[in-house]
């Protein structure tokens, strides 16, 4: 099994005619994702590799029954694109766009928080249910179908962890990159709840970063409710305070959000915390054996 996404998910790509949007649409189709429509305002009526393009998301929903959206529009227009997808009734929105102003995302987050919609990202690689479908920019071939769920704030570091798992013949149920921004639609805790409830997921890898307190909140939840083995890593132990380490959300502010603090809380919650990012795969292998 998998969470959020499978072979039946009907995806509309917002920003399908842009360079990122068109390239990754082809990649997603190649992987097996059911891309049913594209949206580029002003290009309605044209098509991309046989996929019909609409002016609005609501037209794509009406005509092609799209139920998930992949957003590749540039940062100034991305918040608007998310809200348009929500209004059109899309239930799963994956926003890849990097560089959206925090103020815009604050508005979006508060506007949608009580609605029946799941936003992944922004500034994320997306999500993949190996062997089934992917919505995002991750390389499909490193993944392997299986029973470990992966949730991470990062992109390439997630690929690293996935590769380690696949090399050890540990497949993945679903891998979710939740994004590196301070304001994101889904937190660790949201995805971990889904993995915990998914009978097809037997173990969870969680890869955090310095900044914020989302890892601590997830740890509290795991301690209370999760019986499946969880392996954790926090990137940025050597990061200096007060500097934004690439991701807008990866910053130690006012002495809070350090890697050491997060790792301590996670260990206390019974998570198998690895010191080195090279040990993520092996730690999961051990944890599954001792289950």
């Amino acid at each position: 099994m998998s969470i959020l996404l499978d072979k039946k998910t009907r995806v509309v790509v917002q920003g399908i005619t842009g360079s990122e949007g068109s390239f990754h649409t082809s990649q997603m189709i190649e992987y097996g994702t059911k891309v049913v429509a594209g949206v580029t305002p002003g290009k309605g009526g044209t098509d991309f590799q046989g996929i019909h393009i609409y002016n609005t998301v609501s037209e794509a929903v009406k005509n092609q029954k799209a139920d998930a959206s992949a957003i590749f529009v540039p940062p100034p227009f991305a918040a608007d694109a998310i809200l348009e997808a929500v209004e059109a009734g899309i239930k799963l929105i994956v926003c890849i766009t990097e560089g959206i102003p925090a103020k815009d995302m604050t508005k979006v987050f508060n506007a949608i928080k009580n609605k029946d919609v799941r936003l992944i990202g922004p500034n994320c690689p997306g999500l993949i249910s190996p062997g089934k479908a992917k919505i995002g920019i991750m390389p499909g071939f490193i993944h392997k179908k299986g029973k470990v769920g992966v949730v991470s704030r990062s992109g390439t570091l997630t690929y690293e962890a996935v590769k380690q798992l696949s090399d050890l013949k540990i497949g993945q149920s679903t891998c979710v990159g939740i994004g590196g921004d301070p304001i994101i639609g889904s937190q660790f805790i949201d995805v971990i709840k889904l993995f915990n409830d998914d009978p097809g997921t037997e173990g969870i890898v969680m890869i955090g970063e310095i900044g914020g307190s989302a890892e601590e909140e997830a740890a509290a939840y795991i301690k209370k409710y999760v019986k499946k083995p969880v392996v954790g890593f926090i990137a940025g132990r050597t990061a200096p305070p007060g500097r934004r380490m690439g991701h807008a959300g990866a910053i130690i502010a006012g002495g809070k959000g350090t890697a050491a603090e997060k790792m301590k809380v996670m260990k206390k919650a019974g998570i198998h915390v690895v010191e080195s990012p090279a040990e993520i795969g092996i730690a999961m292998q051990k944890a599954l054996l001792n289950k």
Partner: protein, 403 residues
């Protein structure tokens, strides 16, 4: 992005916020004119304030850049004498200010803010920032003004009061009343605070600030609320729509290597270690720094070359890493998902040939065409340590550091 106090005050003033009045100067020759203008505004006591992008200025020390001798204690000086003010200005401008936040090397004072000296009875604390936990802006206030807020938060957290602002509704009068009563304000000071706060919040909101701190916020002897200091940071992602704020950028306050890197769209942060690293992706870059430390080295930098790692980005990355003389080895860690590793490898080989890299280079390329990449690196005849896994890369770093 950070800006100076005098710039923050100008921005706040433009939004109708009551700030301590002042004039910024860059040369001592501008001093008399500035003070003359302030005197015309009825000001007869002055504060001379060093402008650098670091806190703790008041308790900092000024040193002569050549002789390294101590010139003045305190980077912010109050005086009622115009003559004395000029003396202070002379001792600050062009000298090095060392504060608890600058590190031992300090920062050169290139601008002074000559301001009015206000008589006040109370110092308060006020700040606005994004609370990631609830995805709303939070306004924090405290009666403990003039001290570090982290200290207050640690020792007497009950003395910090907070209100959260719903972005759809914005700031309302009740928010201001809640904080005003919470701070124990009464009479005209309370009334003034209730007018002050929404203006301050709107200045923060409209300018896409990520942090605004007024410490101290004062109640003057005549019961006015005035921002005596102002510190503002801005959301880099929103600068595209604020050319007026981008104009405040002071390149003198930034690391020259970081400025150079940003020209090539490289995300570089200089650190103090001995192993340089070049990585694609911020999370993997942080993880690579961590593994360097575990391998017995210290990361010399954070460098994210982004999604398109090609010959140019790799060459520019090398140049920037190597201009740091502490670098004894370099670790390249690229996970090629969409990027092809053989192309990255060719980029690395070309760059090393072109620049003449003398320090050992550990290369780990994983993902699409990783094997072809390994063959290219070995065949190049250059001095690469090729690693297949992250673990192996760490071990090779340990080995080359011991050589």
């Amino acid at each position: 992005m950070k800006i100076h106090e005098f710039q923050a005050k100008e921005l706040l003033k433009n939004h109708g916020v009551a700030v301590q009045d002042g004039i910024a100067i860059k040369k001592l020759s501008q001093f008399d004119k500035a003070v003359g203008a302030l005197k015309k505004r009825g000001i007869n006591q002055f504060v001379v304030k060093s402008q650098i992008h670091a806190g703790g200025r008041g308790k900092g020390k000024l040193y002569d850049p050549k002789t390294k001798e101590l010139v003045l204690e305190g980077g912010v000086k109050f005086t009622t004498s115009e003559k004395k003010a000029k003396e202070y200005a002379e001792k600050m401008l062009g000298n090095i200010l060392v504060t608890i936040q600058t590190g031992a090397e300090g920062k050169k004072v290139k601008t002074l803010f000559i301001t009015e000296g206000l008589d006040y009875k109370t110092e308060l604390y006020l700040s606005i920032l994004l609370d990631r936990g609830v995805s709303k802006n939070v306004i924090m206030a405290s009666t403990e003004g003039g001290v570090e807020i982290e200290k207050v938060a640690d020792e007497t957290p009950e003395k910090i009061i907070k209100v959260w602002i719903d972005p759809a509704v914005g700031i309302q009068a009740f928010h201001a009343r809640e904080l005003g009563f919470g701070l124990g304000l009464t009479g005209n000071a309370f009334k003034d605070f209730v007018k002050f706060l929404p203006k301050l919040y709107n200045a923060y909101e409209k300018s896409d600030a990520s942090m605004l701190e007024i410490n101290p916020l004062i109640i003057t002897n005549d019961d006015r609320i005035v921002a005596l200091d102002a510190k503002m940071n801005f959301d880099d992602n929103a600068l595209y729509r604020h050319p007026e704020i981008l104009a405040y950028r002071d390149l003198d306050e930034e690391d020259p290597l970081e400025i150079e890197a940003s020209k090539f769209s490289l995300n570089y942060i200089k650190l103090d270690g001995n192993v340089g690293c070049m990585v694609n992706g911020a999370g993997l870059a942080m993880a690579t720094m961590d593994i360097i430390k575990l391998a017995g080295g210290e990361p010399a930098n954070f460098l994210d070359v982004g999604g398109g790692a090609n010959k140019e980005t790799v060459a520019n990355g090398f140049k920037i890493i190597l201009s740091d003389k502490n670098v004894k080895a370099i670790l390249i860690n690229i996970f090629g998902g969409i990027v092809r590793c053989d192309r990255v490898a060719q980029g690395v080989i070309d760059a090393v040939n072109e620049i003449g890299v003398k320090v050992p280079v550990v290369v780990r390329l994983e993902g699409t065409n990783a094997e072809e990449a390994g063959v290219l690196l070995v065949k190049s005849g250059l001095n690469f340590e090729v690693a297949k896994t992250l673990q192996e890369a760490a071990e090779k770093v340990t080995v080359v550091l011991k050589k």
